[in-house]
Amino acid sequence: MENWIIYILNGLYFASFLFLTSLGLSIILGVMGILNLAHGSLFAIGAFMAAWIVGAFGAKAPITIFVIALLAALGVSGLMGLLLETSIIRPMYQRALEYQLLITFGALLLIEDLIKMTWGGTAYYASKPFDIMGNLVIGNNQYPLYFLFVILITIMAGIGVWFIMSKTRIGIMLRAISMDREMARAMGIRIRKLNTLAFGMGAALAGLAGALIVPTTPALLGIGMEPLIMAFIVVVLGGLGSLKGALVGALIVGETRSIGIVFFPEIELPLLFLIAVIILVSKPQGLFGR
Amino acid sequence: MLNVKNLIKDFGKVRIINSTDFEVQEDEIVSLVGPNGAGKTTLVNLVSGHILPTSGKIEFFDRDITFASPYRRIKMGIARNFQITNLFENNTVLDNVRTCLFSIYAKIKNGFLPAGRYRTITREAVNILDVFGIADKQDLFPPSLSEGDKKILDTAMAFALKSKFLLLDEPTSGVATGDKFKVMDTIISAIKRENLACMIIEHDMDIVSDYSDRVLVLSEGEIIADGIPNEIMEQDNVKEILFGVRT
């Protein structure tokens, strides 16, 4: 029984990253119709930024510094997102799918090397916050408190995004755009600005997810690749552009992964894809797709 | 030939087609008229298999096709055009028609000979374009055609499917008024030559009375009149619905 509590909590922990990453991807896809292949690189920027700050300044008060690092990562990735949108993504809205995908693919290659130029090719470790927080004892098992911390931050971020999307003017306009772009334009919504904003927001979420992962995994080149692929699966499962979809998709993938790792460690990833494929074949628009 | 019995179509709670019965005989040209929103295009969609009815029965040559796929209906000989032209825009005019012929002659799977080598089919495609008067435009792409020519091409494609029954949804909408009769002449003479049956949705009453053997008047999903054009036009309820004349 206690083991199962651990599996489920681990699943929630995986789901947290998936949710943050895929939420950003899903907002960008929903509002702009662009699949951002460089999303994983924004995740990586967040990871490097946070790991670097914790490593350089975190000797005295690691938790405080880590929180600062989280905000810094969020900010840097968000800024990078704004920069990307205004420079190369903006001319792509009217272009064909292949160009939209390729330009973000180009951005991915570019950013990967920018990270290498800025932080070098070495790994950055930032396990201090993880070590300091210690463990929670559940029966005979220990569960890291840091995992709960991640789950908590994710819930806060999720509520924040939900609040923005459903209670503020900006959020309502963003949803209007994602439902019907032309109609939104006709209603006088300033699509340009909102696109930039949405892209920045999505990027910031990816950066936050990246920052949250470094206390458990060193920041390495290519760290954003796997989260990107997982986020694709979540988005495909949950359906385009819905918060609920991202949440449920993340939970399914996270829990499957957590349980899969225990029972089928060799084929945990293919198993996940299999489930995704079964859902897609039976429900092509995803669970909550429009 | 075509036999529609007690056809009903609901969209959600709204009944678009309400227990409709009608027949179309071989080599008969029938017009379907009615005010906007009467359900004319829905009726065409039901017959062509684009959408499926809520209940009722559609028979074609005594075979039940109520729920048959569009693909099967095409193979049985029901073809249609589209109200908003629906062409293959990056294929030449010739290829637009030729692909229909390949499809109907079951040559469409063949991948090991260039299309031009199928000389008989290519010749037939050019002939069809010739019948419809656009053979000189065979190497152009649809976007460079006039609205009228696009409409004609759209109809020619339905015609090329060797159908026994053509559904034409407003074949002259979007065509300049002066050209309407020319377009209709072209289409009708091609249909007559092949002795096809045809159901036309049309708004222009002059066209209706000039070209059709019989008229069906559809109003709020029901057929309220069925008969020879000139007689139908004199009925009071038809006048009221079509021309807003109260007597």
């Binding site: 180009g106 995704a276 092509p284 | 629906n86 991948g111 090991f112 299309a115």
Partner: protein, 332 residues
């Protein structure tokens, strides 16, 4: 005879010219350059298949790396587990069979969707294969991959021969023979009734259905054909490279396939061929001058998309049309 058919004749003459030129290539290029060229030609075969989907069917696959890997790994595993059958005339058909099976499965799932969902799904499926190649290391050699030995070719053994000698000898002529056959077959396919059906599906799915084309099934056929070309490219590439590893199944390589095709220009039949060969040289050049080669490739890609979206051949067609002031409809 339509406009497009008349185009076939001068095009055919140019092909013959290029083929004769290719025959003399081993005399003209240093061995190393020749090997690059061969690598480019295998990518070109793949590019032809990829473009059948993109240009002629309107489906953008971001997972073709997996199909390429299928062909390449089939070769590797034949060498590893069936050394007696390791003859090129057996290995290549086996590779094709493997590609047929994998692309039939992938295609069956992917063609239920179009546009961006198709791309994501192809990408996700390719990552399944990637994960399997890495995880099932007992069979696949894991992330180290498999070494590719020189095969027997039509009864002739090349044991003890250096790879470059093999590649600049018999194998080169074998490769360009297959390449020529692939190009001509694909040219026929895209102008055949089947090719026309694909193009009508691309243009207007709804109408294609209404003239009696089974849209989903034809997309599937196109996917499988494309997979066969891609797998064949992978198989032929494995001999040139001498080694297969899971990177070719990863989606980044799939992205490079898209890149090659757009570099050459996907609106022109020959575009992907030119793109594949150019990309091979471009990448090698970037890698040789800096450790930040991804930066160069990425920047080139962005500039290309922004300034020359029709690719190199598309740019030429446009320029040519401008000079001639004729219609810009020359592309098949």
């Amino acid at each position: 005879m339509g406009l497009k058919d008349t185009f076939l004749i001068p095009r055919f003459l140019i092909y013959v010219g290029i083929f004769i030129f290719l025959l003399f290539m081993p005399k003209l290029l240093p061995t190393y350059q020749l090997m690059l060229m061969e690598s480019g030609i295998t990518f070109a075969i793949m590019g032809l298949g990829f473009n059948l989907l993109l240009r002629y069917t309107g489906l953008l696959s971001f997972g073709h790396g997996a199909l390429f890997a299928t062909g390449a790994y089939a070769v590797g595993m034949m060498g590893e587990y069936f050394p007696d059958l390791y003859r090129i005339e057996i290995v290549i058909p086996i590779s094709l069979a493997a590609s047929l099976i994998v692309s039939a499965i992938f295609g069956f799932i992917c063609v239920r969707h179009t546009r961006i969902f198709f791309s994501i799904l192809a990408l996700a499926l390719s990552m399944v294969l990637f994960a399997l190649l890495v995880k099932l290391y007992n069979i696949t050699g894991g992330s180290d991959g498999i070494h590719i030995d020189l095969p027997m070719m039509f009864g002739k053994s090349f044991e003890g021969m250096k790879r470059f000698e093999f590649l600049s000898g018999a194998y080169y002529y074998f490769l360009i023979g297959i390449f020529a056959a692939c190009t001509i077959i694909m040219l026929v396919i895209v102008s055949s009734p089947f090719g026309k059906a694909l193009q009508s599906i691309r243009d207007n799915e709804e109408r294609a259905e209404m003239i009696g084309i089974r849209v989903r099934r034809y997309r599937w056929y196109a996917f499988v054909l494309s997979g066969l070309y891609t797998g064949l490219g992978g198989a032929l590439w494995s001999f040139v490279n001498g080694h297969v590893s899971p990177e070719i199944a990863e989606w980044v390589f799939s992205g490079e396939i898209v890149y090659m095709t757009l570099l050459g220009g996907f609106m022109v039949f020959e575009g992907p061929i030119i793109g594949a060969i150019l990309f091979t040289y471009l990448k090698l050049y970037a890698v040789s001058i800096t450790q930040y080669w991804m930066f160069i490739i990425g920047a080139t890609l962005i500039v290309l998309v922004l300034l020359l979206p029709e690719g190199i051949t598309g740019g030429f067609v446009k320029l040519f049309a401008k000079l001639k002031r004729g219609e810009a409809t020359g592309a098949v």
